[in-house]
């Protein structure tokens, strides 16, 4: 088992390396003068030259790459021009906000999409089935920024049910003491229910926007997988053995059907990390996406590259976790796989 885990981790390393290479390429090896980017739009030619020397941009590419990797290993992602702070630190501070949103949205999406897919598969031709299929077709057409705005318009402006989309907390509250960085968790740990409720209320709309976006692929996969499993030989055997419908559905059908859904989650994380940039913009959510966007608007490039790198690394890690979870869940996965 440990060997399997180690093998999976090893398999992720080339991807990590690829991420680093591409981010490096994005910063250095492309047309234009990277030094000018890093010096900023208002820099004089002398300042640009100085930046060039300081960042080692006048050295040969392979040497630049090694310096880049060495910097990364030390946690040096560069410095933001607009805030003057090290990019790595700013990203780390904002990462919990983005992660909390992504994880909460995933939880919400799964809790709707999986039962929906299961119901659609066990009741083919029913209204649930048609609802599921309509959702899937519509879901892949939804522009995430548009749904976010619509939700804000309907639930905040028209109905007044949701709070104003101005970030993680109502200004009245101050953040809970940091344990995990997740406001929901930390407020519960600090036993501050009012804070918890406010955090949750602020999160509802962005969470729902992101969840809507990924409902479709999860529901589609669950339905397809469930349909295939329900008509399989072993489910027929389970029925023929007179096992209770609940046992057949859950222990025999669902557990098998969820395996492909688990692999879908990797792809889903990708969509969510990508769309988090947009969702954070629409709802003024102080995550890494918003940070990168602000920097982009100010032509401050180090944060943008740090963001791309961080997202790449995060995605590789998340995929690894999904991979490991699958390896543990499916006893058939062997070392040769």
């Amino acid at each position: 088992m440990l060997r399997l885990v180690a093998k999976r981790i090893l398999a992720a390393l080339p991807n990590l390396f690829g991420v680093v290479v591409i981010t490096f390429a994005l910063t250095r090896a492309l047309p234009g003068d990277p030094a000018a980017y890093f010096a900023g739009g208002a820099a004089t030619p002398e300042a640009v030259d100085e930046v060039r020397r300081a960042l080692g941009l006048d050295r040969p590419l392979p040497e630049q790459f090694l310096r880049y990797v060495a910097d990364l290993a030390r946690g040096d992602f560069g410095v933001s021009l607009t805030t003057g702070q090290p990019v790595a630190r700013e990203i780390l501070t904002r990462l919990p906000a983005s992660l909390e949103l992504v994880l909460a949205a995933l939880l919400l999406a799964c809790s709707i999409a999986i039962p929906l897919g299961v119901l659609a598969a066990t009741r083919p031709g029913s209204w649930v089935d048609h609802l599921c299929r309509a959702l899937v077709t519509l879901g892949v057409s939804l522009p995430v920024f548009f749904t976010g705005l619509l939700l804000a318009y309907v639930f905040y402006f028209l109905l007044g049910w949701a709070p104003s989309p101005i970030g993680r907390l109502d200004p009245v509250f101050s953040p809970p003491p940091t344990v995990t960085g997740f406001y929901l968790v930390d407020s519960l740990l600090a036993r501050d229910l009012g804070l918890f409720r406010s955090s949750l209320a602020q999160m509802v709309l962005p969470m729902a926007t992101m969840a809507l976006f990924v409902l479709a692929p999860i529901a589609r996969m669950t339905r397809a997988s469930m349909l295939a499993v329900l008509s399989s030989d072993f489910v027929r055997s389970a029925r023929a053995a007179g096992l209770a419908p609940h046992t057949v559905l859950v222990t025999y059908a669902l557990r098998n059907a969820l395996l492909p859904v688990l692999t879908t989650l990797g792809m889903v994380f990708g969509f969510m990390l990508g769309s988090s940039v947009i969702v954070e913009k629409v709802f003024a959510w102080p995550g890494v996406g918003a940070y990168a966007l602000d920097a982009l608007q100010a032509s401050d490039y180090a944060p943008v590259q740090g963001f791309v790198l961080a997202m790449g690394v995060l995605f590789v890690l998340l995929n690894l976790i999904v991979d490991l979870a699958y390896t543990l869940a499916d006893p058939r996965v062997s070392i040769d796989a």
Binding site: G18, G32, P143, F146, L149, F157, G274, Y301, F315
Partner: protein, 279 residues
């Protein structure tokens, strides 16, 4: 594919006819564009700013008094053009690479797949952002970024198809006749791979439009005052929260409709050409 299959698919799923009709409408609007817009999409009129939909302005006016309906119409051309060029280029390059990888195997395969895997190691939208940020904020770079993040999709598709056909007898025959690899791939493999890959193009168009609009929404690529669906939604974002819903809603709705239409068309094409993949 024959007429009977087409009719069968349309009868089975009437929405696909709707999709095809919508796509046709979009293409017509894209081509006709500025000539059918009632107002000049760039003409500002401070006095008529922020007006809700009316008989004079079907979609209302924005903060600078520009007619939103005209802007949405004209934007069709830009959005479709961006998506189409991105899809065409990524199709060409991706299929070529994928065929090479699938047909030749070995080192070619490993290199191409490593490229595809590395691109896919990123959340694609983030990578697109990074590419545009690095290369410069222009429409051409939006197209380039979309091409890059779309490549793995076509590479894998073409590679899978090439793998299946690699040992087919007619390929074997062409090889024995002394044809070069390039000739075999271009003349023998590609025409057979065309139907299943073409199906994906329509599905991909919808995704490419979403992607381009998303990038414009966050301020990359298209600059004001150019009318483009994504940027128009961004312009309307601040206003929708305070009740002026029409500025963001109409471009967003049209965007959704366009993507939906291409997806419907793509589903219909898939049912006609490749019914095994139906979900």
């Amino acid at each position: 594919m024959n007429l009977r299959t087409v009719r069968h698919v349309l009868a089975d799923n009437p929405l696909s006819a709707v999709g095809a009709a919508l796509v046709l409408l979009l293409v017509v609007v894209a081509i006709a564009g500025p000539s059918i817009a009632p107002y000049d999409p760039l003409a500002t009129n401070a006095a008529a700013a922020l007006q809700p939909p009316s008989a004079a302005h079907w979609f209302g006016t924005d903060s600078l008094g520009r007619d939103i309906f005209s802007r949405v119409l004209v934007a069709t051309r830009l959005d479709l053009a961006i998506a189409l060029s991105a899809v065409v280029v990524s199709y060409t390059v991706g299929v070529a690479l994928g065929l090479a990888a699938g047909y030749r195997g070995g080192l070619t395969d490993r290199i191409v797949m490593r490229l595809a895997d590395t691109i896919m190691a990123f959340p694609l939208f983030v990578l697109a952002m990074g590419i545009v940020a690095a290369l410069g904020n222009t429409v051409a770079n939006i197209v380039l970024a979309t091409v890059v993040i779309n490549l793995p999709f076509y590479i894998r598709l073409a590679r899978a198809e090439a793998n299946v056909r690699r040992n087919a007898t007619y390929i074997e025959a062409a090889r024995l006749a002394g044809n070069t690899d390039l000739r075999i791939m271009a003349v023998h493999l590609f025409p057979n791979v065309l139907p299943p890959t073409m199906v994906q193009v329509s599905l991909n168009m919808g995704w490419a439009i979403l992607n381009a609009a998303g990038l414009s929404f966050i301020g990359l690529g298209v600059r004001p005052p150019t009318p483009e669906w994504g940027i128009m939604v961004a312009e309307g974002a601040t206003y929708i929260i305070s009740g002026e819903w029409w500025i963001a809603l109409f471009p967003g709705a049209v965007l959704m409709l366009a993507v939906f239409a291409f997806n419907l068309l793509g589903d219909a094409l898939r049912d006609i050409f490749d019914p095994r993949r139906r979900i």
